[in-house]
Amino acid sequence: MTRPGLPDEQIAQRIAAELEDGWYVNLGVGIPTLVGNCLPPGRDILLHTENGMLGIGPRPPQGEEDIDLINAGNQPVTVLPGSCFFGQADSFAMIRGGHVDVSVLGALQVSERGDLANWMIPGQRVGRVGGAMDIAVGAKRLFVAMGHTTRDGAPKIVKRCTYPLTAVGAVKKIFTNLAVIEVGPAGLVLLEVAPGVTPEQVAAATEPPLTIAPDLRTIPF
């Protein structure tokens, strides 16, 4: 069955539209990485990668990769005018110190109060947390980018996460193939639906109740 709503590239595009001129942005692997490919023109948006670079440029042409120029997903990047480098302790000082305007991470589950689970599957014995926990608690705003449900159709937006947590109460907005949902103080608020998707469809694919925003709109492209 084809996934309804937006393909990953359009989820990324919707997130990119959210990014303001002058923002420092950290992108996790998966859909978040795609955000880097569709940054809105005319805005200086600086990408931070926790392995030690600010202002990362696009992937170089094949054959011009440099093993000393990579992002946290181990993908080759390039230097832009205004880029700079630093060590990992300084990099996480930026993150944990609240200097990164927004981080976009993938998720296995997000709870209605903004808890994030994205690093481990229950019963998995080899933990590999990477920088996710620091990024989740440290960024000024945490966005999640993910498919709205699992491949089996089970909700990934849940009342309580059953997967091991990455951070408590950290997620601010969730961007999926079906919708844009805000984690508000009184619970989840449905802000936008994908073209052709109804609020009812979103609600059916979401475990906790959704408040529909008075100015609910269709994600514009």
């Binding site: 990668t49 926790e50 392995n51 030690g52 670079m53 990769e65 440099d66 093993i67 000393d68 120029l69 990579i70 992002n71 946290a72 181990n74 080759p76 990047v77 230097v79 480098f85 630093f86 060590g87 990992q88 302790a89 300084d90 990099s91 996480f92 993150i95 944990r96 808890d115 014995r125 080899v126 933990g127 590999r128 947390v129 990477g130 920088g131 996710a132 926990m133 620091d134 990024i135 608690v137 440290g138 091991p164 947590l165 990455t166 951070a167 408590v168």
Partner: protein
Amino acid sequence: MNKGYPSSAAAVADIPDGASIMVGGFGLAGLPVNLLRALAEQGARGLTIISNAAGRGDLGVGRLFKGRQVRRFIGCFPVPGHSQHFEEQFLRGEVEYECMPQGTFSERIRAGGAGIAAFYTPTGVGTILAEGKEQREFNGRSYVLEHGLTADYAFIKGYRGDRWGNLAYRGTSRNFNVMMATAARVTIAEVEEVVELGALDPEAVVTPGIFVQRVVRGEVYDKTWVA
């Protein structure tokens, strides 16, 4: 003062069984491949390896797991499907593993090098990685107590270095090398080029020589991109 060593083998020759070793690098960037190769040949066993990743096949610290030289791994991110030597031995109970968030890992090493015994970080609160750890509120927010981390040796890789141990890096190869250099009793730096004193721009020295005890020109660097 000349911290230069003639070879990677000479630089790691005295490492005893049971030593704790920090290993820098993220991906291939800043990975001290020559020191790791030399240590694999040297054969010290029962090691504690402190490294972000657990190797990629035989690459990086993977080689040490393959040779069953490691007793304990402290790190953040054994790469799925690639850190197989580590994974097999961990799942068989032959290797211990302490997993922690990468920022906490970095900060614990910085603290160890800076004489800070412990610190309170917001990272990990409410997760299984904070279980059993002291928690405390400051200004209404919860923090976890984490301790400084030091080691007997650090294996790091710079781009250029001089005989006093000053190091400059290249691109994203600083990563863990910068903190690890500060947190070991003996820091061994491999570099692509050993330059004359004064050849490094003093404004672009990232690791001051005070943190480095041994410098060696790495024998072989394969800088081919591997996807």
